[in-house]
């Protein structure tokens, strides 16, 4: 599988699923991919602790996640009832393993 990177999906604003209803089409950028290459000693130590049972019932992750490190600027659009609306930080601009 591919390493963590920025992917693109063209959707309508309505398809974003967060209340806004508009037929305007936009590119939604998201982060996806492998992060194994970015594992640190931290991850190995944590994994070992969990295996030894030193950390019980703990959800701490011992694997980096592919997440946005920056978001695109605000997006403004005209919704289907002809009001201009703004969405902040909904589309990734850059990704990283964190």
């Amino acid at each position: 599988s591919k390493p963590c990177s920025l992917r693109k999906l063209v959707v309508t604003v309505s398809q974003l699923g967060i209340a806004f209803v508009s037929d305007e089409t936009i590119a939604f950028h998201y982060c996806s991919g492998e992060c194994d290459a970015s594992r640190k000693n931290y991850d190995f130590v944590l994994e070992a602790m969990k295996k030894k049972g030193l950390l019980r019932k703990n959800k701490a992750r011992h694997r980096p996640c592919c997440r946005p490190t920056a978001y695109e600027e605000d997006f403004l659009f005209l919704d289907n009832s002809f009001q201009y609306k703004t969405i902040h930080e909904f589309s990734a601009k850059a990704c990283g393993c964190i």
Binding site: I18, A19, F20, V21
Partner: protein
């Protein structure tokens, strides 16, 4: 003298002969004794010497025969034909001097020089012989001398078909004060006209051409606009007096009453320095108190329907407070306002308006002799107990009242005094009320603290007028036995589910429990679902005096941070949200 037209246009051609007439500029008289002297104003351009104007008749003639080389000698912005030559013609009622061009009326003559010879008789249409391609509409001023306003004959085209006879006439259904002078082919206005009677005359001009074979007619419509002058005095329709009562609203800028003044003349807003028919008003008083506290607000607009479908002016006068009036002020007076139409020539150009003003004092007092509130023992910190308010306080504008809470008997032990920490008062900034709230829940559980008596003192800020009333707060029911020593109450707004919400003992909850509001609308709605300490006050779109004391009480109304999800923001808080809205500290989220 004035020009009944702003612009004259005509075509000129190569080969046109020296001494041939091009067009006739006409000016109209303001007084019967005037006679016009015409002269050319522009001398900047070299081509000016090609023309001269007859001083008495206003006919513009060619000084030279136009050559092909004349066309190419012209500088012009456009390379193509035609090239426009612009001349200015001035008119004076005395034999003129050149320097007068800047102060006397002038008119523009635009000659389109076509890089070709004039068409021959077979080439031209009859309408071209009769009328210029673009016909501009003339205007005449009301109440002026009758006389010629336009030369209908097209001089430059007269020699094209020398065998034709051309004459003109006015076709009019009803009688109009316009006719054609057959001897000169001039369109003439036969009588003085009144703009307030008719603003535009729509004329049809007929051109009759007798050719070798037959008589043909060509029609052209012409709209003669009547220009206005200030010849009507302003008047009131009905009342010239308005009763004004100043009571609870006494803030600066408040307007009272409206009086209307009508004027059948137009009041131009363009150009701004135009003074015609602008009304000037004067307050008819020497009383400096009135002058300092009241002013007149004047607006005007154009109306047509009420003036018989001719444009006239409606003026609106309102009385306006120039500063906040003190609550102690009491007086009544008749205020006159003189409106003067300064450009109206007669002595009747004024109207006197009256405002019959009564200023009543506003007493600062409590209508409730005593206030008595009951609070649940379970109430948490910042729970609202009730509001105190002086008589009519909701109607106050420009009156500032503050409230204070005091202990009735100060000569009690410190131990007993500490009971009174249970309740505090906060000032709601905009509506002149004081809000009581639970300040300290620890003392509530002490048996001696179950019934508390206070004095509420209201103070009006400008004159420091005071009012007092008694206040009793009693605590009832049983205290929550569980977790009695809870140091901090959680925020209701954090809860995202009904069950969880209603089981929570949250900050600012008068019943001790959070309340759930269930929204039903789809999309972004003002009725979003949310958990609140008190549905009566939160969310209600207003961050009140109590809520603003701690962001966790009602972040839905008080948050100033960015909101995530589908929402509409307000100055503070969530105006509308999508699905359920919940908040951590001041940060809110809305989601389905």
């Amino acid at each position: 003298l004035y020009f009944p037209q702003r612009l004259y246009t005509e075509n000129i051609y190569v080969g046109q002969q020296q001494g041939s007439p091009l067009l006739q500029v006409i000016s109209m008289r303001e007084f019967p004794t005037e006679r016009p002297y015409f002269f050319l104003c522009s001398h900047r351009d070299a081509f000016t010497s090609w023309f001269h104007i007859d001083e008495a008749s206003g006919v513009l003639y060619l000084n030279k025969t136009l050559e092909w080389s004349d066309f190419s000698s012209l500088r012009s912005g456009s390379v193509r034909s035609p090239k426009d030559l612009t001349l200015k013609v001035g008119v004076s009622s005395t034999p003129p001097m050149k320097v007068m061009c800047t102060i006397l009326p002038t008119v523009e003559v635009k000659l389109s020089f076509i890089n070709d010879t004039a068409p021959s008789c077979g080439q031209v249409e009859l309408s071209t012989l009769c009328f210029p391609e673009k016909i501009s509409n003339p205007h005449i001023t009301e109440n002026r001398e009758p006389g010629a306003l336009r030369q209908l004959r097209r001089f430059t085209h007269m020699s094209i078909c020398p065998n034709y006879t051309i004459s003109y006439g006015v076709v009019a259904g009803s009688s109009v004060p316009f006719a054609v002078d057959d001897s000169t082919s001039e369109l003439v206005v036969t009588a003085q006209v009144d703009r307030e009677e008719k603003e535009v005359y729509h004329l049809d001009i007929v051109c009759m051409v007798r050719t070798e074979r037959n008589l043909e007619e060509v029609f052209r419509s012409l709209h003669v606009n009547i220009y206005d002058e200030d010849d009507n005095s302003p008047y009131v329709n009905g009342t010239d007096t308005e009763d004004v009562l100043v009571e609870f609203d006494r803030s600066e800028g408040t307007v009272f009453g409206t009086l209307f003044v009508y004027d059948r003349d137009t009041t131009p807003v363009y150009p701004t320095n135009q003074v015609q028919n602008k009304l000037v008003g004067t307050l008819m008083t020497n009383d400096s108190w009135i002058k300092n506290n009241f002013a007149i607000e004047h607006k005007f607009r154009e109306e047509k329907a009420i003036f018989g479908n001719v444009r006239g002016t409606v003026h609106e006068y309102k009385l306006k407070l120039s500063q906040n009036l003190s609550v102690t002020e009491q007086r009544s007076f008749l205020l006159g306002y003189l409106v003067n139409d300064t450009t109206f020539p007669g002595p009747e150009g004024t109207v006197l308006l009256h405002f019959n003003v009564t200023v009543l004092p506003v007493p600062i007092r409590f209508s409730n002799v005593t206030y008595s509130f009951t609070v649940s023992q379970k109430a948490t910190t910042y729970s609202q107990i009730g509001k105190v308010c002086v008589e009519n306080c909701q109607k106050f504008k420009g009156i500032d009242v503050t409230y204070q809470l005091e202990i009735v008997d100060r000569n009690i032990t410190a131990e007993a005094q500490s009971c009174y920490w249970a309740v505090s008062l906060a000032q709601n900034p905009n509506d002149n009320t004081g809000v009581l709230y639970v300040n300290d829940t620890k003392v509530l559980r002490r048996p001696e603290c179950q019934e508390l008596e206070y004095v509420v003192i209201a103070q009006e800020q400008q004159n420091k007028l005071q009012a007092k009333t008694q206040l009793t707060v009693s605590f009832q029911g049983e205290a929550d036995s569980l977790k009695t020593d809870e140091p901090r109450f959680p925020a209701c707004a954090e809860k995202r589910q009904r069950g969880d919400c209603e089981a929570t003992r949250g900050l600012g909850a008068p019943t001790g429990r959070c309340q759930w509001r269930q929204g039903r609308d789809k999309g972004i709605s003002k009725r979003y679902s949310t958990c609140s300490p008190n549905l009566g006050t939160c969310p209600d779109g207003y961050c009140d005096a109590i809520e603003s004391k701690n962001i966790s009480i009602c972040p839905q109304d008080c948050s100033s941070e960015a909101i995530i999800g589908g929402y509409e923001r307000d100055l503070y808080g969530i105006k509308a949200g999508h699905g359920t809205c919940y908040c951590f500290e001041g940060k809110c989220f809305c989601e389905r």
